[in-house]
Symmetry: C2
């Protein structure tokens, strides 16, 4: 019971101090979330109130089911972009079908996360390698920033990829609306400055650093308030500044998403991708914050909590939500101790929908675009490519493919291409494992690579050490390797496979071993194994392989050589002892 | 030069004896190939002469480029079924478009194999695990056999999968043509008997076993001759027996395949699948036969040879070819010593197209169907599932998926499903590697799993040994595992990752290690590594990880424990020595 309801755990030790801390954090996060929720709804192509709705129920649900103490769930940039990409294929912005599809997307994504949680399928997130995620988020950030430029410039623009988008903006540069540009550029500049400069500014005026950091997080609300005032006072909406306009007042009403199988079929893949990307982000933020206080999160329970949050969003007219990085860090820094802080934030957002929406009428879309641009550009990490390249070329290639395909063909194609390429390169790597022909180090029972060490070998025995588990990607490689050795050594009588680095063996590798055994037997050679690990031996025992094996299975490589080339091992041991004695005398 | 033209190698030592042996093998293979080539053309939905054409040029090309001495290239059952499936989507049987698409398929498949050969991409075949191939061939064999039943029964039947096919046959049972059934069933029975009974029959009459085995291979030609005679003498074609009819006489004329980009685009995926399946079969047959004479083949050169053979087939009006298992074994058993045997077979087939085609006019299609059924049912291996299940459940699941999807949704879907599932299960397995918490075996420097051995540990140190390379499928698992240990041990001060089984580390795992390091530091813990292998250390050195690492990197786990818990290691070593001394006294 407690496993599925972590609230039963932390609520028992809830004190007045905890309450105070959670309340303070909730106030700060609410101030940050109001403009963000409106902005991400705009990014997703949805009415502003949908952003508010997605910031109430999901937070309440997460407070009940979440295991991360300071995670802030709600609308985030990348999931909003993915929503826009998925729903934009199916309906025109502003239509009820568009809204319905976005709600259905949250619902389906929630269902998928719940199912994955109950089936403990969190490992699905393992398909997304870090370089692919990093490349995807960087590319998404660039696309999002570019897509918001039209709001800053006050021109209509569209395009299916970054180049089209930028070309479309370029073609309309002469139609730029000056008041919009002033508001947009001003807000963007102010928000960029607020990220570093404002904190220093406050600190210089005697505000303690921690409080200065938290205060600088209110900059978006300040930008909203100032631009609303300017627009209202100077009537800028009549001068061409696009405004949010009428936002329905009042709490969201519970409603079921459209149950339309054809629609669900069309959004299944986007829903899966949003689920997995959102989950990966959520868990990595949650784990980072939990570690700071030596707490732990349960990754499978997080699937359930995030699934519940998305169902909650869908049933209250919201769109897909996940754990947001920036907001969670603010929540944590502001002192949030339990998920109750999230519930209090939800109450704050509910109050905003009840009382603040009339004030948002004159809110310029350019201000929201500025909020988005500043938020997402902090996600863009172009240096990651250089760092990855230094460590691993295949990973860098997967990252580059993800970035380029995301920028040129969209978010879904980008993430699929990245996953496919990283799987392919992973298989390529394991399909050609490191292989060493080993010989005996004189005077010892150790066997080392003949290319790196001065070792002795017997002409009638070859020992092949494979530094990888044996499974289908390298089964044929194993056959080729053995065949090559046999072809190259005409006096060969014994082939020994040294299995010290073999952690696993699958049916393909077993068949390859059987084929190798039979082929060697046909050529008059015996196959032996040495240093086979327990689990691998168990599997061999369940097959016919050991029964047919022409040679033996030796506990150690030294045992194998003692049996197959007794003269050699004695000679080298003796030689080694002589060396040892001589060196000992010399020292 | 010699690498790409293996003929330069073996032709230098070509003797009169070799010539005799190759000629004898060629005669036997030609006799076997004539009915097979016609039958597989029928299976592919192509005119009979296309089978003959695909048995001339490809064999000559392979003789120049092939590295396998006794491999017999030509039309085979599975590739013919795959051709029918691919081309059947695009055009109606009997139209020039159908023939053109089949030729284009051979051309594109040849090009792909050549490119793979020059880029040394033979590892692509590693994507097909043995259980997937085995399941695919079994399912293909069942589909092929079912598809040929209509020729045996003399009724039209069609269907997109096995069930539809069988239902369609069942619905027409009352329309069965009796003379066709008699010929078909008779030929099938005779051919089944010839596989075992004929050899024993001949052996009982004093024919030496080896010759009896080869003679029994002429059974299909005998069946063809007898049924042609029966049909001609009794005019069975007028009684409803479908016959091959007019087969154009004369050698194939060189011609280019249709250069139609839209067509090529449509057949690209089937061409790739045919290439890879054909290549896998070719290499495994070639390697099996080469091993019997301690010869070797070059897997990458085989790509080039098979690619050339397919281009040769396409340019002479043929369809996709690969190395056939049964025919290669006969070629080998009949004494073929070099690829020249294949060239002689090609000459035999050329003579057949020049002079024998008029004799094929009255050949009943039922006889060809019988040849196909007997050939493919030997490929069906239902016991493989049981054997695989005993060894590995995930492999058995991949095999079952391949069989079921191939039977229900067709060859392409089947092979794609099998590959996808085996990749998925492989990732699943490596995403949750075996992990052991280890402690010191008293009195030794060895560290073993605390769950299996009586070991000692220090409360402030936990050592985690991961029995798998660290890469993206298990990067998150690693983070979760460390987090779990930290959560479970409140007195912990040091975490040691013992890397003795880690063969590789990728960018994802590195980032996870960095995250673990920072999270542990946030909680006041230090991270250490022990027993890191050379290549892994090289990669760590190229990143920031070692610079940021809060703990040390120890050559051995014993060094790590000596540094982190000096009291413990001394105590257990001393205790061990006491035990040793006591046991020594007791003995």
């Amino acid at each position: 019971m407690r496993q599925y309801f972590p609230i039963l755990d932390w609520s028992r030790t809830y004190t007045r101090d905890t309450l105070t801390n959670d309340l303070i954090a909730a106030v700060i996060v609410t101030i940050m979330l109001i403009p963000q929720s409106l902005a991400y709804a705009l990014l997703a192509g949805l009415p502003a109130e949908v952003g508010l709705y997605a910031s109430i129920a999901p937070l309440l649900v997460y407070a009940v089911f979440g295991t991360a103490r300071a995670l802030a769930v709600g609308p985030v940039a990348v999931a909003s972009l993915m929503t826009a990409a998925a729903v934009g294929e199916l309906a025109a912005q502003g239509t009820p079908e568009y809204l319905g599809a976005a709600i259905a997307l949250a619902f389906l994504s929630g269902l998928m996360l719940l199912v994955m949680g109950f089936l403990r399928l969190g490992f699905l997130a393992a398909f997304l390698s870090h370089p692919v995620i990093s490349g995807f988020i960087t590319a998404s950030g660039l696309i999002i920033a570019a897509s918001q430029l039209k709001h800053i410039l006050g021109v209509p623009a569209s395009g299916h990829n970054l180049l089209e988008l930028l070309a479309s903006l370029w073609a309309q540069l002469d139609a730029v609306n000056l008041p919009t540009l002033l508001i947009g550029a001003g807000a963007t500049g102010f928000l960029f400055w607020s990220r570093g400069g404002l904190k220093r500014f406050l600190a210089a005026r005697g505000v303690p650093p921690h409080r200065a950091g938290l205060l600088s997080r209110t900059a978006p609300v300040v930008a909203v308030a100032v631009t609303v005032l300017l627009t209202w006072v100077f009537g800028l909406d009549r001068a061409g500044v696009a405004i949010v306009g009428e936002v329905p007042q009042g709490l969201p009403r519970p409603a079921l998403p459209p149950f339309d199988l054809a629609l669900w079929y069309q959004i299944a893949v986007p829903a899966l991708l949003i689920s997995i990307v959102g989950y990966v982000e959520t868990v990595s933020v949650a784990q980072t914050l939990a570690a700071k206080r030596r707490q732990r999160i349960d990754p499978d329970q997080e699937l359930i909590a995030l699934g519940g949050a998305n169902l909650g969003s869908a049933l209250s007219g919201g769109f897909p939500v996940t754990g947001g990085f920036a907001r969670s860090v603010v929540n944590f820094d502001a002192g949030a101790e339990t998920p109750a802080a999230g519930a209090f934030t939800a109450i704050g957002m509910a109050l905003a929908t009840l009382f603040l929406t009339p004030l948002l009428f004159f809110l310029p879309k350019a201000t929201l675009a500025a909020t988005i641009i500043v938020a997402v550009l902090s996600l863009v990490d172009l240096g990651a490519f250089r760092r990855t390249w230094a460590v691993s070329r295949p990973d860098a290639a997967a990252m580059a493919a993800t970035i380029l395909v995301t920028l040129s063909a969209g978010v879904e194609a980008g993430i699929v291409a990245g996953v496919a390429l990283s799987l392919f390169l992973h298989l390529y790597r394991t399909s050609r494992p490191h292989v060493a022909i080993v010989g005996q180090v004189p005077g010892t029972e150790h066997f080392r690579n003949i290319d790196r060490h001065a070792v002795v070998t017997a002409p009638e025995v070859v020992t092949i050490r494979i530094d990888e588990s044996l499974y289908f990607p390298n089964a044929r490689f194993l056959e080729d390797t053995v065949q090559e050795q046999v072809g190259a050594n005409p006096n060969l009588r014994h082939v020994v496979l040294m299995c010290s680095a073999v952690n696993d063996v699958d049916a393909s590798a077993l068949e390859s071993l059987e084929a190798i055994n039979h082929r060697l037997a046909d050529g008059g050679l015996a196959l032996h194994l040495s240093e086979v690990k327990g689990p691998v031996m168990d599997r061999l025992k369940r097959s016919h392989f050991l029964h047919d094996l022409t040679g033996g299975v030796y506990l150690t490589q030294f045992d194998a050589m003692r049996a197959l080339a007794p003269d050699l091992t004695c000679r080298t041991l003796a030689a080694g002892r002589r060396d040892l004695a001589r060196n000992g005398n010399g020292a």
